[in-house]
């Protein structure tokens, strides 16, 4: 792959992360435990989806500039290949709705199901903490478009992190039932947190180019913040070291399939459908 392809891969991964967590959180719409929290989740979801849109638009611009030969094999989905073969440019919606699961590059943590309030909070808390440090670094990167998205997102992510941190404390230091559920969710999702800091080829090359973020360097900051909130919440930090990974390479858990089945249904069944 050349540098342009790595930048496309990097942009798409950030977009996929945002779309998938945004979709997961949007599943709470109308089901939140109280109205204010329902609104909090949909607001947060909207921030993620807004970021996903900007990133997909940028990814589409990059894709449309690739030579035809490279476009043909970029994605495995027949729907995309047909568009490319007909000489059409791709847009943000094509990237979100027409790629198949193995073309998605989101981290496994983000596709995990909501299960209950504690799982939802734990998943957001791990990701929000990561984002808080990640976007601080990305805001200073050489790629102007990514830096602008990061600068914008950092402010939103700061709200997300406050919200999810407060809930970890409220549940962890709450009743015995809420404590036990919070601890359980943290233990269960812990194995997906390793992938947040895995530097694959794309990360390494983007870092060399001055575009990517050194995510290994974020790990101690993340750990420190997570431990501090867990301490306040009387939650034990899991000691397990075995970590599940693969999302960044397109190897997903079965959960992603269910998301895409719902998310992509209309565009797959009625291609090009518009409101």
């Amino acid at each position: 792959m050349n540098k342009q392809r790595y930048l496309l891969d990097y942009t798409l991964r950030l977009a996929d992360d945002a779309l998938i967590i945004g979709h997961r959180l949007s599943e709470w719409c109308g089901h939140g435990p109280v109205l204010e929290q329902d609104i909090a989740l949909t607001n947060t979801s909207l921030d993620h989806l807004g970021r996903a849109r900007t990133l997909y638009q940028y990814a589409a611009e990059q894709f449309n500039r690739l030579p035809q030969g490279e476009k043909k094999n970029a994605f495995t989905s027949v729907a995309i290949q047909n568009l490319v073969a007909s000489g059409e440019n791709l847009g943000e919606d094509d990237l979100a709705y027409l790629r198949d699961g193995w073309d998605f590059r989101n981290m496994l943590l983000l596709e995990q199901p909501n299960i209950d309030w504690a799982y939802t909070i734990a998943r957001s808390f791990f990701y929000d903490t990561f984002n808080y440090f990640f976007f601080q670094h990305l805001a200073g990167c050489k790629d102007e478009s990514l830096a602008a998205v990061a600068e914008k997102s950092l402010k939103e992510v700061t709200y997300h992190l406050r919200w999810s941190s407060e809930w970890v404390v409220r549940l962890g230091d709450g009743t015995s039932e809420s404590h036990q559920r919070m601890q359980h969710a943290v233990n269960e999702l812990w194995a997906y947190t390793g992938e947040l800091f895995v530097m694959n080829d794309t990360d390494k090359i983007m870092l060399q180019e001055g575009t990517g973020v050194d995510i290994e360097a974020i790990k101690p900051l993340w750990m420190q913040r997570v431990s501090a909130v867990f301490e306040e919440a009387t939650i034990n930090t899991p000691t397990g070291t075995w970590m599940q990974q693969g999302g960044k390479e397109g190897r997903h858990t079965e959960q992603l399939g269910y998301i895409l089945a719902e998310l992509q249904f209309m565009q797959r069944a009625y291609p090009g459908m518009a409101w």
Binding site: I39, N43, D47, K155, E156
Partner: protein, 166 residues
């Protein structure tokens, strides 16, 4: 049409309001970054640069339509609206005039500079826009739109919205 000035375009833009907070114009909010006017007469072309308040703010589409309507009705046919992400919008871009209008409208305006972030569990002190009491309580950091939080006043017992420092 005679050559039009940038100031003229700004004056027209001052009639476009935010669909979610109609008390504020887009100039009060500080989301118009720049205006470019080129050419004269029938060749007049106007470019308006706007910036989103929040990444997923659905009002941006409606605001773009508002700008389009305001300028087309003044005979500007060649119009481009460009989204400019950097530097990111903050509530510091809101004018003092805008903050006064917000308060009169019943929404507590942002009062802290956006570049002075709060500590992790620190909370803003927000004054009730109705009775002026400082005895208020955060109900939810997230409100009916991305830019607002929900508060209640412990003195006059009225619920109110706060335009978050962002």
């Amino acid at each position: 049409m005679e050559g039009i000035s940038k100031e003229q375009v700004y004056e027209w833009l001052s009639t476009v309001t935010d669909p979610e907070v109609p008390a504020l114009t887009i100039l009060d909010l500080g989301i118009v970054r720049d205006v470019e006017v080129t050419g004269k007469g029938n060749d007049t072309a106007v470019k308006v640069f706007i910036t989103p308040t929040y990444s997923g703010c659905p009002a941006m589409d409606v605001i773009s339509i508002g700008i389009r309507m305001a300028l087309i009705s003044r005979g500007i046919g060649n119009l481009t609206i460009e989204m400019q992400l950097s530097p990111a919008w903050t509530t510091d871009w809101m004018t003092e005039e805008g903050k006064k209008k917000l308060k009169a409208y019943g929404i507590a305006p942002p009062h802290r500079k956006a570049f002075q972030p709060l500590g992790l569990f620190e909370e803003d002190k927000v004054t009730c826009p109705r009775c002026g009491s400082e005895e208020t309580e955060l109900v939810s950091q997230f409100g009916p739109t991305s830019c607002k939080a929900l508060y209640k006043c412990l003195s006059c017992k009225e619920p109110f919205e706060h335009f978050k420092c962002h």
